[in-house]
Assembly symmetry: C2
Homo-oligomer: 545 residues x 2
């Protein structure tokens, strides 16, 4: 690892504009923005993927590898990634900082407390909750309906029994009521942090977040409870993007980590903006597959900010294609051209969808050792047949060197990109909310019809009445299928989407549309990853890989 | 503020042994310890006080001021203080970083997230809770008695309704049971962090903490639940002391902040040890008055570590003396020699108590503008009459310059101190637990008798049976009186102490003895401090003072 000051100086950042956190991570100060704001923007590259499969597609890996590759071929590139949440590191999956020769470091720190951003979100969120409950106890001057409190508490831990709780038991301990916890990354505060342009915007967004409804059905906001300023104070360092590096010394901005279902699932606007001023290329990713992640990146993040990607990189793997062609997880390493061809329908639909936004696409085939030449050739000619750029990526095995071909394809596509003229959002702002949902379902998921539960239908009407219909929708759907049924792989048609609930995130600025049950608090598995984590005598850590 | 690298270099710390957190705070690395371990120790100065009163005695202020004063008169001194908890900053009291001309900076950062130590304690504590509940749900192989879980969850927030909760409601959400939250500083993890000599010791202490009891009454430890290593990983940066500075540029180690009732209430052993190697004087403080704070500092921290103070500084104020002489809070500014003389009984008893440890005492009279010359003279001659050094401190108004006389008195007392020969603990380790409690009550509080509730009596017997009686006791008592009745001011006699419960903190290594109800989760007041906190456009903060 190089000192973070060295990484920063490669980006032309003055050491006085760095706020170090240990030797290998630093926050970029607000003063840096003043220095670079007037510069031209570099090009934004969005990395997305087919629908995720149990085999893992390597989207983060490809984002890191492509950044390494772009620097390798002489460009100045920076990656912009989400911060891993501590909870899941202790649960199922270990860390989330790439793998093989395409990793970001210091990975143990990044995976755990890092620079404290997620802890700051937890504190700010829970301060609002504590102030709300205190308001209830101290006389409830705002006439809050105790059965319509929509603001849960949060913790960055996989802690199943906190999903549904009762609080306030015992004399002198406030108002007894049902409550529950979400994992911190599901907090609207996290979404707000990631969409805020600056401290002023952050404050406005925090202030309009809805905590509860009054007896007469009026929304009760953070502003009304008086928590806006104190929450902003708690978040004042967390709004600054964090700089780290790849194992090959490329700069990486890692900042914010909102859920990709009930929120928009991409790293912060601030980090993207800083990156575009500091480098020729910012390579960023969006959560889950292109049907969820890219759609939200474009229809929420780009819509709110005016940002637009010059190129979309669509990650595919031979394994994921065969899985979408009906092969079980355990049999994916065996060559199977038929299944692969079957599964290409999934890739085709993502390509078609992304073309609807007027964006040039490069398909990145993340190569696994078990892929046959014949299989790889099949994918490549399929993409070429759709007039789509395609490149193999061997970033896992070879780092930046292995992503050279991909980097060249992306740089060339970016060079030819006419995104300024051709980019279009999926729907205009002033589309009624029901129509927005229909457009996403019809154009992106290709569902035949939509069914709203009475609850969802009532909620939609109430939201339009109270807040109008200018906001984009944020779909909360299973990532594994275009449909709301995780078992419908490939490119399903003729399905009906069930909309179970709709609610507004007034601070983040979108309307969350839930299909099925959305889990906002994961549990620990029978054998949590925490059991394998070790601290060695020399201070090093194992078990987080 | 000077860059933290400058402060460090005055202490002879190599920049490579610093882990910066922003520009004005840094952690001291483990490698620094290897470099300095062989050095001789400086002298340790313990700052304690009379029983606290609503007027505020200025113990932290005096600790900071004395450090400034010692440096001013040519010594190399460092302060060792506790980290403020974020929760109370949002509740009643604002920040906790000194005041006037004796403050530590950057105060807003120190008062809030600082270097993330308290957040790390929260995460480590709650990981054990999540793993415990997961164990229950996954079959309860350890046969944990769900009604004898002693490990609550924690949050660094004043959040009243979390005192008593029910968790695990709903299908698939684990085992339904009663639970509750404490504020993080009440976590045994915090006490362990502050008493651990190094990472290995930390691990051992974490591992033996008791989470619950089995159906057959056996303790269930963190080791048994498998959380020790992962908790250590979460705490691996938090164990490193933090370096900041006073507003006059003196070095300050600020590290750890355990409760002063159910825990021992002083900053970390690590910080004390680092300070003793880096400076001629380490000035540290203990929570509440000398009856609680100093007693625990000596009988717990010094007992466990072999550390001993060369001098004890006992902070007194004219106001506090008058309050102990029966004057109401609002009338303390009016001269009242009679009340002051009456209140001197409180000071006398603290002096007598500290003499029992064989320690030289300097009484620091923290001067307020309303003190009359006559009143001050009365206090000074009273102390001299007890052969006790005494000095006025004007640190609030004049910083280090105002503490020059105090610094000179302390340095001289330290020079003459024969602590190595004369220091003695209040009781030997192998005293039965009931006798230890009796000795503290008789020798320090001067109570006439003790009454154990049947619950406390049973708990004591069970603890002695399962763990022996080698551990010291940690008294949890009102700080406002020598007795367990906060209204008995001055130097009460003939009172009976009621012991309501006894429990073991097996990781911290003490037996907590509760008198009355101990509150481990504060609530927010009607007008929380958070309502006054503001973030200004230039990024500065107000309302935390």
């Amino acid at each position: 690892m190089q000192p973070i000051t060295t990484i920063a100086s490669h980006l032309g950042i003055d050491i006085n504009d760095l706020e170090p956190y240990g030797k290998y991570a630093a926050k970029l100060s607000e003063s840096l923005w003043d220095d670079i704001e007037a510069r031209d923007n570099g090009k934004l590259i969005l990395v997305t993927a087919m629908n995720p499969t149990p085999a893992g597609e390597g989207k983060t890996l490809t984002t890191i590898g492509l950044t390494q590759g772009l620097n390798r071929i002489g460009h100045k590139a920076v990656a912009a990634l989400r911060e891993p949440s501590l909870g899941p590191c202790m649960g199922m999956k270990g860390g989330a900082t790439g793998s093989g020769a395409a990793q970001i470091v210091p990975s143990d720190d990044i995976n755990l407390h890092f620079t404290g951003d997620i802890h700051a979100v937890t504190s700010a969120h829970n301060l609002a909750a504590a102030m709300l409950d205190n308001h209830l106890m101290q006389g409830n001057a705002l006439h809050i309906d105790v059965n319509r409190i929509v603001w849960k508490r949060v913790v960055d831990m996989n802690d199943r029994p906190l999903r549904r709780t009762v609080i306030g038991l015992g004399e002198g301990n406030g108002v007894v009521r049902e409550d529950g916890y979400m994992i911190t990354t599901a907090s609207e505060v996290m979404a707000v942090l990631c969409l805020a342009e600056n401290l002023q915007d952050l404050k406005k967004r925090l202030g309009r977040m809805i905590l509860a409804y009054s007896m007469t059905g009026e929304p009760i906001t953070v502003d009304q409870i008086g928590a806006t300023e104190a929450m902003s104070v708690l978040l004042r360092h967390a709004v600054k993007p964090n700089l780290v590096q790849t194992i090959e010394g490329d700069p990486v901005l890692i900042h914010g980590g909102p859920f990709a279902n009930i929120a928009h699932g991409c790293s912060s606007v601030r980090a993207t903006r800083y990156g575009l001023k500091l480098a020729d290329y910012v390579v960023t990713e969006a959560g889950f597959g292109a049907d969820l992640g890219a759609e939200k990146f474009l229809d929420i993040k780009c819509r709110q900010t005016g940002l637009m990607p010059s190129v979309v990189v669509l990650v595919a793997t031979v394994k994921a294609l065969k899985y979408n062609g009906g092969i079980k997880k355990d049999e994916l390493t065996a060559p199977n051209l038929d299944a692969l061809q079957e599964g290409l329908a999934n890739l085709r639909r993502h390509i078609e969808n992304l073309h609807k936004y007027g964006l040039p696409i490069v398909v990145a085939v993340n190569r696994f050792a078990t892929d046959t030449e014949e299989e790889l050739h099949e994918v490549i000619s399929f993409c070429r047949g759709l007039s789509c750029e395609v490149a193999l990526s061997e970033a896992w095995a070879k780092g930046g060197e292995g992503a050279r071909a991909l980097a060249e394809a992306v740089a060339q596509a970016a060079e030819c990109s006419r995104v300024e003229e051709e980019f279009r959002l999926l729907y205009p702002d002033n589309t009624p909310l029901r129509d927005k949902i229909k457009i996403v379902v019809r154009e992106i998921y290709r569902g035949a019809d939509i069914r709203f539960t009475p609850k969802a239908s009532r909620a939609l009407s109430r939201i339009e009445e109270q807040f109008g219909h200018e906001l984009p929708v944020c779909m909360a759907k299973t990532p594994y299928s275009f449909s709301d049924n995780p078992k419908l792989l490939g490119a399903p048609v003729d399905f009906v989407m069930d909309i179970s609930d709709v609610r507004i995130s007034a601070g983040a600025g979108f309307v969350v549309v839930e299909t099925g049950t959305i889990m906002t608090m994961p549990g620990l598995p029978k054998e949590p990853a925490a059991l394998r984590i070790q601290l060695h005598e020399d201070g090093t850590v194992s078990g987080l890989e």
